[in-house]
Symmetry: C2
Subunit: 368 residues, 2 copies
Amino acid sequence: MTHQAAIALGQSLRVLSEKPDDSAALVAADVRIGTHTDLAALREFAKGCEAVTFDHEHVPTAHIAALAAEGVKIYPGAEAILFAQDKQQMRERLAAMGAPVPLWRAVSSAADISDFASTVAQARGGTGWPVVAKAVRGGYDGRGVWMLGGLEAASDLVSTGTPLIVEEKVPLRRELAALVARSPFGQVAAYPVVETVQQDGICVEVLAPAPGLAEELAVEAQQLAIDLANELGVVGLLAVELFETDNGIVVNELAMRPHNSGHWTIEGARTSQFEQHLRAVLDYPMGETSLTAPAVVMANVLGGEPGGMSIDERLHHLFAEDPGARVHLYGKQVRPGRKIGHVTVLGDDMTSVRARAVRAARWLQEGS
Amino acid sequence: MTHQAAIALGQSLRVLSEKPDDSAALVAADVRIGTHTDLAALREFAKGCEAVTFDHEHVPTAHIAALAAEGVKIYPGAEAILFAQDKQQMRERLAAMGAPVPLWRAVSSAADISDFASTVAQARGGTGWPVVAKAVRGGYDGRGVWMLGGLEAASDLVSTGTPLIVEEKVPLRRELAALVARSPFGQVAAYPVVETVQQDGICVEVLAPAPGLAEELAVEAQQLAIDLANELGVVGLLAVELFETDNGIVVNELAMRPHNSGHWTIEGARTSQFEQHLRAVLDYPMGETSLTAPAVVMANVLGGEPGGMSIDERLHHLFAEDPGARVHLYGKQVRPGRKIGHVTVLGDDMTSVRARAVRAARWLQEGS
């Protein structure tokens, strides 16, 4: 999707890909096979590039810093992306900034976790359990997050040796996301705040704008994302995943890349997040972020069970049934539960738009 | 731009390109160097392709027919594309269908042309001059079209040996274009009729929808395009370039490919012409063609005089001045007068939208 945006700007992406059949490698003209953890491969890759960026946050910060020191324009920088890689660093920094975060603690024993549960009980009432445990590094789509019901579960998890933080289970109304982009010059553009709907820890729908969100809360979320982008020195996109609670918003996670919560912008905003990210890393002025329709819904297509109708056949039926559904398929091998594409629907009425998007995504997923 | 649309459908284009630095070759993953007049190259190219199509109409019909006979799904077919390649065949067929065409004649001498002028004078009054001469094959962007003031100019042109037809100079109010797409199944989808603004024979602006066009004339133009697509058996896009006169519409030219008069659809219609063309040649149901905003204007960016600010610098300034302008650059070498990109602006008011689009395109063209 970033390549689609690059083409419009008269650019062509060079892609560093682990395998020749990775999605981006299937469509870009200039593909180098290599891994993002290999500094020599990164160095070779960067030669002749105008700017270098990522579509995930797993490039080691030491490599990013090394390339930057050698004069490569590589964004987001090591000092920024650290806070999207390391949940402990992120929580510490946000707490220090006074940003709204849940109660949390870095822990190294079951006793630490139990102690934290007591702190939560004292602050919020109740037993303090369950406690949310998160791997400090490497979680994604619900992986690396555990709901601990008590001391026994805590002991089991700690015994795996995974570095952990724990957080209170926030009593949330729903999840929101605030997406901004920041250029090296320091210009920040904010998208309308969206609602993200999760299932089993995976985002399944994004509603833009977040239905019924109070204007002041929307502005607060946008301002928070802008402040974080500035404070952390982000260049490129910053997606701030938020919990909406009875007492306002709380930061859940940060992402610094084109993010699933922003896929709706391809058709739903004047400037897509993919073009916006490119504009930022190429140091162009930011594009307009306003909505192109009153209601926009993105629904993820997850890989269904094998067998039955091919994706191609399903697409035929979907296009016949809903000629206005905008489909994006990623060219990925179908595996149950894997995000293999998404559908976006635009219209005037959120309820009907959402129903169409969900129906379209389910059809592509299940063929029924 | 077709590659951008292909990516969304989970497809990747294979491109047959004469040079490695042709626009499409710069961005696609699978590029074969070869020429469209070489049947062996086409045959080799088509191996393993789901479907084969063109972004110009210069592939010899004999080659298209040969590949189709060998089982290649190649669209539009030879019987259809003939009428976009050969203006004489097109005029004969349209006249036989009863479609609205100007007075015309195939000519082989200056005397023929002079005789034709007399016929025009008799039918329309006046002297019958100037007469519009067109090369039967190969014209593009004003090339291959001559305005003949009298017998001397006619003699000069005939002496070049170019096969010619001549047409009356239609007293037009403005130019329109009706764009449709047709699938092998026979489904046809029609876009809103647009106004095209020409300068020196080159399209410089497209206004969607055509401002102030009477509903009945719009429907007539759409119906005409649908009838032509069906009658000629077009698969893929058909752009019907029209003259609007005091007595209704007259067909000027046909194009069977993603067409400059449809570039506005990338952001301005629910389904872009590029995706629509792919849907047609892949035999998917057609996508929704409705406008995404009340007023959409596309302005072409022509190559300016060399020197001065780079395109990159101009883009910086444009993005700062108009964050909502949608820019498409084609990665072409800049030559004066060559189409190197386009800008699309969307909004509620045609006058202001048009002013923004023209200003943006002029800025990219002239840097001032």
